[in-house]
Symmetry: C2
Amino acid sequence: MYIIIVYDVNVKRVNKVKSFLRKHLNWIQNSVFEGEVTESELEWIKTKLSMIINKEEDAIVIYKLKSKPKREIIGIEKNPIDDII
Amino acid sequence: MYIIIVYDVNVKRVNKVKSFLRKHLNWIQNSVFEGEVTESELEWIKTKLSMIINKEEDAIVIYKLKSKPKREIIGIEKNPIDDII
């Protein structure tokens, strides 16, 4: 499955979230990662994020898609992922 | 079509982007909007965003999906959209 993760996390924890997600997904821009994962990878990502964040202050949305979606960029493309893969 | 917009825009322009998107889409969390749009609405959104942002500094990603994707929340749900719609 293909996931997009967007997070809104207190600055105290944001580097932990970012460095964890970097190991599993592609960084797209500030607070956005995406990538192909298995069900078990997704479970691991969710478990780990739950441990890092403060659930009363932070918010993370995980969009679960069947495949990589079409996307359009306006402005600068911070991480031109399509050229890398 | 269903779109998710994530933006990484200089603080000078962020309020303009946010108040424009609020008219057309549902606010999800910091820097994320989503909603159902027609092709022509999407064209209008893209045109207008291009006028607001500085294309050499700011970045906006628009994911184009066929329908509203499944999603999971970890932490607080800032805008419980599913309850509203």
